[in-house]
């Protein structure tokens, strides 16, 4: 899969970065949540089309207002443009996917080393680790044991 070939991928990553931003704790991009989001979009064609269309609108808006692509704006500028779209269905769906990946079990590939759980204080208390018993075939590289 070569998502970087899509012109709006940089925009998608920038938006995911603002949906769950890094601060004293990791953000979505730090935990690989973009991988979860990409996988979901690749299996939901209708949703993906609306997300890509929405991202294109964000880039148009960035060009009109700031004469730059969305990904190159400051965080404050990006948040201001996202706020204009936060009621849109495509953005709500993208934010929901991002949160799903970030807060779900690490084997869903958006919550590396279960670090979001450390942030919020959730303890899984399972003997095998955060995913529970995993058939070997389901293990992804980088899964917590």
């Amino acid at each position: 899969m070569d998502d970087t070939a899509k012109p709006a991928t940089a925009t998608l990553l920038a938006v995911i970065d603002r949906i769950i931003p890094a601060d004293q704790d990791p953000g979505a991009l730090d935990l690989g949540t973009d991988h979860y989001v990409m996988a979901q979009l690749s299996s939901q064609a209708g949703l993906a089309a609306s997300v890509w269309a929405g991202l294109a609108q964000l880039d148009d808006l960035a060009d009109t207002r700031f004469n730059a692509v969305f990904a190159k704006l400051t965080a404050e500028q990006q948040d201001a443009l996202i706020a204009l779209h936060q009621q849109a269905d495509w953005f709500a769906a993208l934010a929901e996917l991002t949160a799903e990946g970030f807060y779900a079990d690490p084997a869903n590939s958006g919550n590396r080393d279960a670090l979001s759980w450390r942030m919020i204080g959730y303890q899984h208390r399972l003997p095998e680790g955060p995913n529970g018993p995993m058939p070997k075939a389901d293990m992804e590289p980088g899964d917590a044991p």
């Binding site: 949906i19 601060d23 991002t98 949160a99 807060y103 779900a104 208390r125 018993p133 389901d138």
Partner: protein, 548 residues
Amino acid sequence: MRLDYDCIVVGAGAAGTIIAALVAEAGKRVLLIERGREMSYAADGRRDHLRNQRLSQHGHNAGPDIDGNPRVVVAPDGTERVVRPHEPGYHNNAAAVGSGTVVYGAQAWRFLPDDFRMASRYGTPQGSSLTDWPIGYADLAPFYEQAEQQVGAAGDSHGNRHQGARGADYPMPPVPQHKSAAALQQGAAALGMNSFTPPLLINTIPRAGRGACIGCGSCVGFPCPSNAKNGTQNTMLPRALATGNCQLLPNAMVTAIDTDASGKVTGVTLVADEGGARQSRSVTARMVVVSGGAIETARLLLLSRSAMHPDGLGNAHGQVGRHLQGHYYPSVYGWFDQDVHDDEGPGVTIATTDFNHGNDGVVGGGMLADDFIMLPAIFWKSALPADLPRWGRPAKDFMRDGYRRVLSIKGPVHEIPSPDARVSLDGRVTDRFGLPVVRLSGTTHPETVRTASFMFERAHDWMAASGATRVWGRAPVLQLSAGQHQAGTCRMGDAPEGSVTDQWGRVWGHDNLFVSDASLHPTNGGFNPVLTIMALAFRNGAHMASNL
């Protein structure tokens, strides 16, 4: 495989497995058929937080298969949609050996005496089908005790001020109370409420050759890591199999109950997965017990049409599939200025039954309790206030600061059933076997929404009195309710005109066809219904065994 039995039980869930054990222990040959597969913690215990029976956003882990098992859902405005098993509106029950008892939270409530006589106590609201049970609490009490003792319940035997008379205490001490219980106990005391630790079918101490709960807190939706959660698959099924009289047939779907030319039930037709090939077989028996859950049990009776029974079995009076009910779950969330979360599961630690009956101006009521440990993804999807943005710092701060500071109070409301909330057969959509699928239509009676709204306010009051600085939740709205607590579609009664079975679950007009699951419940109590399903199975199973 053997093709003739004394008794065929369709569905190895909460009730069917108990029936199979009792009949097999009485020396009769039993075939226990289950559409789902056997699950184990080692093979099926993976904690996929997005694909399980509690949160099935992208799939689920305990069946039925996503493909080939659709239903048609008719909205109140008449629009129809086809839904798959993991999607909203399907009202799924797990397809597995043990069914929902493999993946449940295992709250083990007895109904209260007045739950069995709702019409006598409150009258029957116009347009509703509220009715009394044909049996009372005293009839069921000895069998509640059998379920508690033999499946294995842990609880506070004397804490519930409103409970009916009981014999033996729970065989195990209750789950430990936590920080959450301390906060809510204080609120209950301030309001003068009776509160206590709720009963669960979970080993709090090693028992019956299995260990105690390790407190993982992900009971709901998943198999148990220490096998301490008592479902029928690890309690009654081993008993049934130990007799040598019970054959378990998983991965097999019963497509019809067979009758002869006189209309007498002779057995079932099933389709089994045998080495990857589908094999259709007819199996005969002297008795057939349908235990597929309130939706699929009704469907199977309706599918079993013949010249003698043109509208399906037991449906001469048009009652099969009606009065579908489940539970409204008014839920509130409260923010505390200190950590009120404990990591140790199961998480349900405190309950009250003060509002199940005797509430001014509404019919019935329900139990209220705190919740099981919420997985972070579930917390995200259910616990956030409606006005909180779902992105940026506010959302992240809420999760970071709130996960350990937010409590939930919720509870099942005793529904006021409507005859128009129903399971019927769809005329157009078929399943993987080409059989008409379930069509779900109607809503609960509007009185249920009034009672649920009342309970929402009581939950709000309790949360606020416990020190929450902000309380929020979604007010109940009129809708169809069924879900994992589905009930009522083959109600038992005193006469054939208004019911499907007699008080033993025997289908009117048939001496050898029984229903045994929550389909029988004329009303569904203001509690999680599984212990009542089990108690009825102990009662009716003994009756069936003695009649074979």
